[in-house]
């Protein structure tokens, strides 16, 4: 593990998409700004928003194709602040919504922005099944270890002892370990980062963007209002440690032996058990067919079996059997 990152995309200069004749000029991140964020000054969510802008700018994702989806929470206010197509859905169900959107619109790479309550509590089961099915999308969980929007109740990631309005003498229940949960659910890309390291957040977003299937980024995002200092131990500027996972380079060197193999599920699980602040980077990444692609195969095979007949002919044939 080292303090620096080893990702090849890190620090890369802004790469504009190749402009073809008739294409609009590349846009800048300021062009993506929409409503003024209603977050408290200093909230970690600002960083995530800024880096999503950077991601879009770098990749020059076609403006009309940028689509953000969220549930309910401070973090879920996200889509209002992006000048792009977006949906502010209901609490906990953004992933389920995005599943339908992603499967019916293979031309989009949907980003879902969620909170710890939204994703791991009320939305926990949807997360589990979208991960298992490997539905193509990127989920960014802005985890502040607290319910922000509803003003300081215990969240599934609040540590034992955290004093909240629902646990005035300190939380008593064991918190969820998001990384374990995500790996066990079968997510095919699982990364961890923190708002305090913007460069790293962007790297993780880029890797997630390049992943085919269900990618999740657990992003520590401090709630300065209700849980200030929660992640100081992961912030070098506050005397903490931001330890980045060194990934295997397969260069045959002896150092490489010790590096992390993201396709090794057991190793990923082991990293997930490290005590806070733990490590940051890609815990797990594996190639698996995305549900979107499996469904497309099913469609292709079924269409071929009916000789690619148009809908009318298909239905007429079925009806002939029902006469």
């Amino acid at each position: 593990m080292s303090e620096t990152t080893n990702n090849p995309t890190s620090g890369a200069a802004v790469v504009a998409a190749p402009t073809q004749p008739g294409q609009p000029a590349p846009y800048k991140k300021v062009d993506l700004k929409s409503d003024r964020p209603t977050w408290c000054p200093g909230c970690g969510d600002f960083t995530v928003l800024d880096l999503y802008f950077r991601l879009c700018e770098r990749r020059q994702i076609a403006r009309e194709k940028i689509t953000t989806v969220s549930g309910i929470g401070c973090s879920s206010r996200f889509p209002y602040f992006v000048q792009a197509h977006g949906v502010h859905f209901i609490h906990g169900r953004a992933v389920a919504f995005a599943s339908g959107l992603s499967l019916s619109r293979p031309d989009l790479h949907v980003f879902v922005f969620s909170g710890d309550g939204d994703a791991y509590s009320i939305g926990g089961n949807h997360l589990e099944h979208a991960a298992r099915k490997n539905i193509h999308m990127t989920l960014v969980v802005m985890d502040n270890n607290v319910y922000g929007l509803t003003k300081k109740q215990t969240s599934p990631t609040s540590p034992i002892g955290f004093k909240s309005k629902t646990d005035p003498t300190g939380a008593v229940d064991r918190p969820t370990n998001p990384m374990k949960k995500l790996i066990a659910a079968g997510a095919t890309f699982v990364a961890r980062t923190s708002h305090s390291n913007p460069q790293h957040v962007l790297q993780m977003m880029e890797r997630a963007m390049d992943h085919r299937g269900f990618s999740v980024i657990e992003c520590l995002s401090e709630c300065v209002e209700f849980y200030p200092g929660a992640f100081d131990a992961a912030n070098p500027r506050k005397g903490g440690q931001f330890t980045v996972i060194e990934e295997k380079k397969n260069d045959g060197t002896p150092e490489d032996e010790k590096r992390h193999d993201p396709s090794d599920e057991a190793a990923a699980y082991k990293l997930a058990t490290l005590p806070f602040p733990g490590v940051f980077g890609v815990f797990y990444e594996v190639k698996q067919p995305a549900k979107n692609d499996r469904e497309q195969q099913l469609i292709d095979a079924t269409r071929a079996a009916v000789g690619n007949a148009p809908p009318l002919a298909c239905l007429q044939k079925t009806f002939a059997r029902l006469k």
Binding site: E64, P79, S99, G100, R105, N125, I299, P311, F319, L322
Partner: protein, 601 residues
């Protein structure tokens, strides 16, 4: 089968042929006897012979089998209900005989297996025909048959009894068995022919259906309501659906899962009903209206998300195949008790469209209409079917698919600089651009469940809520003005008007036909649009002394059911009462007539 004589003579003479217009046949046995196959083949055959048909079946509550029946009513005119009484009862076992003899009408025929059933032959109300179906089947197919094949023997026997066209029937059997191996099919035909060859001359008569004169000449389709609904959705251009299995709606998702890929579509089996409605809404937002199908408990789970679709103004089709409730209730029985949750379910002022098909044919067209309405009004449309419609098989005229089948391409027309997603226009209906749609000035819409201004952004000003609540309601008021006023069946004025909706309509209309024939005419009105209601109902109600709403739900705290309560609150008319029942079965014609008489007293 009104022309059937009461003859119980034992003479083995060549049977005379009696013309009939209508027959109700009930086959009672165990679920593993394949009686459902016989029933379905009979129903399909009736359709092919241009006869109307309606079926009814029970499935045992246990998975491993148990008593089960299949009832088919075949008629040369319109078949409106499955029939109060049975003309021919086939009893495989003693328990079948004991349980179902009560349904056999005076003068009806009991066909029984003498190896299994010992009927009380002293009861002279019926004609008894003992047919050793089990042993004759074994004989016919060479010992390896055991219980298998008995159903085909029975089919042959019925074909003989009703003088059905065996050439057509055998062709149909061949189609049916196309995927089965040769030896099974040989046994099938041997059993069928043995049944056909059995001498039932003992009855002294055979029957022949009078040709159906009302027929237009278009071929008849034969299918169950759930099938009709699934194919209606496909015809209407739906290419995405999501659901979670639940009786009695699962068949819809099963068909869509198997069929949609043919049309380039996807069906998603979800982890629960909440996920499935959310996924459907997500797909609708993607640009093509999507569907989720369920039954009562699932609809309860979907209500929060349906509220979002109302608020965000997104098209969505929700199919509820009602069963008995509340809670797990009667999973395999019919009821019409989800009307309130369909119209009012959820929090807040939450207007949505609710329609209810009256029969299987209507189920096909209602699902198409639901798709159209959802798209036109950008809101959820709930289609209230029920277990009876979902499961029963009916014959109906082949739809003109060439006129109906359509694709719904996503509209990516760029929006101009003036575009406001929630503009407060006269009709108040937004048509949201799907992601991928360019918007001038990059003024992109955010679809939201928060109350919002015309730009779609939330604000503190409470005036938005006033304006937008009215906007969401107003579009349904506009729809309500445009709906067709339903036609009164029977006299246009009189003593009693029976109002019904959904599957209660068939028996209600048959009750009216009977009352007219009996010289004490009633009238009936079928309301397909439950929310908003069609115009002109008050004008119709004025012409009757009382209005009784026939519906399969509880008569409630104040003596009328859910739809009656809605009509009372709409029209403030205390003459609106109810005829209700909650036994999990469709109304019998007799039950309706008796209830009318009882209320007249």
């Amino acid at each position: 089968m009104s022309n059937m004589s009461d003859s119980n003579s034992g003479a083995a003479v060549t049977a005379k042929v009696v013309p009939i217009k209508d027959a109700v046949i009930r086959i009672a046995g165990n679920s593993q006897d394949g009686i459902q196959t016989v029933g379905e083949l009979l129903a399909r055959f009736s359709g092919r012979s241009a006869q109307e048909v309606m079926s009814y079946m029970t499935i045992p509550a246990t998975i491993s089998g148990g008593p089960s029946i299949y009832q088919v009513r075949i008629g040369s005119g319109e078949v409106l209900s499955v029939g109060d009484e049975v003309d021919v009862l086939v009893a495989f076992y003693q328990h079948s005989y004991e349980k179902h003899l009560g349904a056999l009408r005076n003068g009806g025929v009991l066909i029984y297996d003498p190896d299994q059933v010992k009927p009380n032959l002293d009861d002279k109300r019926f004609t008894y025909v003992g047919v050793p179906m089990t042993s004759l089947t074994i004989e016919a197919i060479g010992g390896k048959g055991r219980d298998k094949g008995k159903n085909m023997f029975l089919l042959g026997l019925i074909a003989r009894m009703f003088d059905l066209d065996t050439v057509k029937l055998e062709t149909m059997l061949k189609d049916w068995g196309a995927k089965r191996d040769a030896s099974t099919m040989e046994a099938t035909f041997n059993a069928f022919r043995a049944g056909y060859g059995f001498d039932i001359g003992r009855m002294g008569q055979n029957f022949k259906f009078i040709p159906n004169e009302q027929r237009s000449g278009r071929p008849l389709m034969v299918m169950a309501g759930n099938q009709a609904m699934a194919y209606g959705l496909i015809a209407a251009g739906v290419r995405f659906g999501a659901a979670y299995p639940i009786t009695p709606s699962s068949q819809i998702m099963e068909i869509l899962r198997a069929e949609l890929p043919k049309y380039g579509g996807i069906f998603l089996q979800c982890e629960d009903e909440i996920a499935s409605v959310c996924a459907a809404i997500g797909a609708s937002y993607g640009g093509r209206v999507a569907v989720t199908s369920t039954s009562g408990p699932g609809l309860a789970l979907k209500t929060e998300a349906i509220g979002w679709a109302v608020m965000a103004e997104i098209p969505l089709v929700v199919i509820d195949v009602q069963r008995g409730g509340p809670s797990t209730g009667l999973p395999t029985k019919m009821e019409q008790s989800d009307l309130n949750i369909a119209i009012f379910g959820g929090h807040g002022d939450c207007p949505r469209i609710v329609i209810a098909p009256a029969d299987v044919e209507d189920a096909f067209y209602s699902s198409i209409e639901a798709v159209d309405l959802a798209r036109q009004y950008s809101c959820p449309v709930i289609v209230l079917s029920d277990q009876a419609i979902g499961f029963r098989v009916e014959a109906f005229e082949e739809p003109d698919l060439a006129k109906i089948v359509r694709e719904l391409p996503i509209d990516f027309t760029p929006r101009g600089a003036e575009f406001k997603p929630y503009e407060d226009t006269v009709d108040g209906i937004p048509h949201h651009p799907a992601p991928g749609t360019p918007i001038a000035n990059n003024n992109f819409p955010i679809l939201t469940g928060l109350e919002h201004n015309e730009a779609g952004h939330p604000g503190e000003d409470p005036r938005y809520h006033v304006v937008m609540t009215a906007k969401r309601r107003r579009k349904l008021q506009k729809l309500g003005e445009k709906l067709p006023t339903p036609k009164v069946f029977g006299p246009a004025e009189g003593e009693t008007l029976l109002v019904s909706w959904g599957s209660a309509y068939g028996p209600t209309r048959e009750a009216v036909e009977k009352s007219v024939a009996d010289g004490q005419p009633l009238s009936a009105l079928c309301i397909r649009y439950l929310n908003p209601l069609p115009p002109g109902l008050d004008k119709i109600f004025e012409r009757f002394k009382r209005i009784l709403v026939v519906e399969n739900n509880d008569s409630g705290l104040y003596g009328y059911g859910q739809f009656a309560a809605l009509l009372r609150s709409r029209f403030g008319d205390p003459r609106i009462g109810g005829i209700n029942k909650t036994d999990g079965l469709s109304f019998k014609v007799r039950e309706i007539l008796e209830a009318v008489r009882a209320q007249a007293r």
